[in-house]
Symmetry: C2
Subunit: 383 residues, 2 copies
């Protein structure tokens, strides 16, 4: 039995993880299950999976959790410090599935165990990339990327040396506006932006897909995960999202990972790595799919990937500023306060206006995040 | 420096191998170079690469070879026994690039060293599959497949267990007749059959591509190379020949190897395995290629893959009979003696008429081959 903690158990990564564990229950001993606020769902999962500890981030709901689990041999705790303590409990594998900056400190606590962390928190590598990868190296931890693109690259790289890599190519669906002319983009509505062709995602991520900022953020993550250098990372538009990413080696061989648009595939890869486990996903039927298409990205219409590449190159606080400014801009777009093309220009404006020093700790990462949000908010105020 | 022998040095596999070695000359000590009959080319290669020994299969040309290499510190020999002795000289890696049944005994001698053999001789696994794989197991040798499809599968499988494989999918270009209706196939000419869309190949292999027997033979080879069971091997038509083959695992991940239609890529993979080496092949530009298409094979129009699968299932002498009968039938088609669709039915007729016991030695493999050719020839004679 392997000891596993699931941080963010009630989110989509947590749900997919527990769905797989449920199918192979005898293999796992659940250490910690955590959630931010969905106390009833967390209690139900705790009753089913019997973790050593269940933690609710929102301390005001601790009483409800305690009541729901009364009489069971499950420790119960609440609040930010308790999340970190739970993440620090010895576990061979931790699923770091808490979204946003709230996930940073628990993810760091898991890394400090020096074991394996399956990473699904974007901020860990975008906003805190240098701090986090330094901790991984210091504690001898192993990061397994859970994002479908990075998991694909991880699988393609297995057994190969970074020095043998000619290109790592992230595939991008191109989003719902990939065929729209520049002029139409300015008038794109939130409802149009959230209609993603291949994945069923939340509104924020859907808008990131429409601007291609999601691919820009993934480029920054890939830069930290795979030490081949930024000039060997590129993006290709692949509308069908069947090829999840590719690696070309110096001999001219390209390895690609393909699969269904189902997060259980990369999560299963992380759960069973370096072996494989069953998933209930249907086999890939390329004859039924028929065709896979590819085209170069258009950074004139979708400048977000260019901004992200510049941020990765600059390093320090810049990727965190990019990420925070983008979140504010996307929220403003979804609220009808700014147009679609303003998202990227607003991010660029914040990057020009706010250049704090490189953060050396998670507290400083959070301070950069807050500073960038303040600068972005200021741009939204009426003059 | 690694010791390497190149059997079939003047053929296309040999030429590609030596082209790569030429670019990285200091890494290699050439043990043996062999050729069947092209004595001047062999002598030129020997002068350049300075092997320990140069061997010409056709003993009548030994004098010419001796003369061409006079005064050089290179041993010279000729004839079938000399080929086998050269293949038995200790080498860390042997490129088994001799075509046809003539390659069987030298390939076996290389396998018996218990080191690594990069296999490009089709008959070794089609006609002598059981004999050869038993020798590989007995002597602890490592087979590295050089064929682009099998090398692709080998790369995709690296680090994974056969038990975790859901599907191995061989890609097939479908050949020049992939879009022809059944009625037109009967009238297809040799000139039309040898116009292969993606690879520049000899006439025999081009016709095999047109009938899809090449893919059938590769299915038999894959059956011996990758012990996942025949029911996990399948074929998909992929006209662009960019994806060289794929492996789907039980978790729903599919790994694919892509690359240019250049044999130097899989040969480089074998030369440097488990590392990678540079090749002069241009990077893969999927945006320029634009689209990759896939469709199910049509065994009604192209029955060869069905015949090959049945032969692999039957085992013993049957795959060797299939291969020999196909060679006779293809030669008869190229000579204008039979129509295109008669190739497959003639193979099937020979399979029905001739069922020798399973060969237990290379001599018995050769006897099966000769017997099948006699049966096929008999079908060609006027009644």
């Amino acid at each position: 039995m392997r000891r596993i903690s699931v941080l963010g158990a009630t989110g989509s990564i947590g749900a997919s993880t527990l769905d797989l564990i449920r199918r192979d229950r005898d293999q796992w001993r659940i250490v910690a299950l955590t959630a931010q606020s969905r106390v009833e769902e967390l209690a139900a999962l705790a009753r089913e999976f019997r973790p050593e500890i269940a933690v609710i981030g929102d301390e005001t709901r601790l009483g409800a959790l305690r009541e729901a689990l009364a009489g069971l041999p499950i420790a119960v705790a609440g609040g930010g410090a308790a999340l970190i303590e739970a993440a620090a409990r010895p576990a061979a594998l931790t699923i770091a599935g808490i979204v946003g900056c709230a996930g940073l400190a628990p993810t760091m606590a898991a890394i400090e165990q020096g074991q394996t962390v399956a990473l699904a928190n974007k901020e860990a590598l975008v906003s805190a990339g240098e701090v986090m990868t330094a901790a991984v190296a210091r504690h001898g931890a192993t990061l397994l990327p859970v994002d479908s693109e990075h998991n694909a690259i991880f699988q393609c790289l297995a057994g190969n040396r970074p020095a043998d890599v000619r290109w790592i190519t992230l595939t991008a669906s191109g989003g719902p506006f990939r065929d729209w002319p520049t002029a139409a983009l300015a008038a794109a509505t939130p409802a149009e932006a959230v209609r993603h062709p291949n994945w069923d995602m939340g509104a924020k991520i859907s808008v990131d897909s429409a601007t291609m900022m999601n691919k820009g953020l993934e480029l920054i993550e890939a830069f930290h995960l795979f030490p081949v250098g930024l000039d060997r990372l590129r993006i290709i538009v692949h509308p069908q999202s069947v090829v999840h990413s590719m690696v070309e080696f110096r001999d001219g061989s390209t390895l690609a990972q393909l699969g269904p648009s189902d997060m259980r595939v990369p999560i299963a890869s992380a759960l069973a790595w370096p072996a494989r486990m069953d998933t209930p996903c249907a086999p890939l039927d390329l004859a039924a799919i028929g065709e896979l298409t590819f085209r170069a990205p258009d950074e004139a219409r979708f400048p977000a990937t260019r901004l992200a590449r510049q941020a990765a190159e600059a390093g320090g606080a810049v990727p965190g500023v990019l990420n925070a400014a983008n979140e504010v801009a996307v929220a403003a777009f979804l609220a009808g306060r700014i147009g679609f093309t303003r998202i990227a220009t607003m991010v660029e404006d914040v990057l020009c206006a706010y250049a704090p020093p490189a953060p050396g700790s998670l507290d400083e990462v959070m301070a950069v995040d807050e500073g960038a949000r303040r600068h972005a908010d200021a741009l939204l105020e009426p003059a």
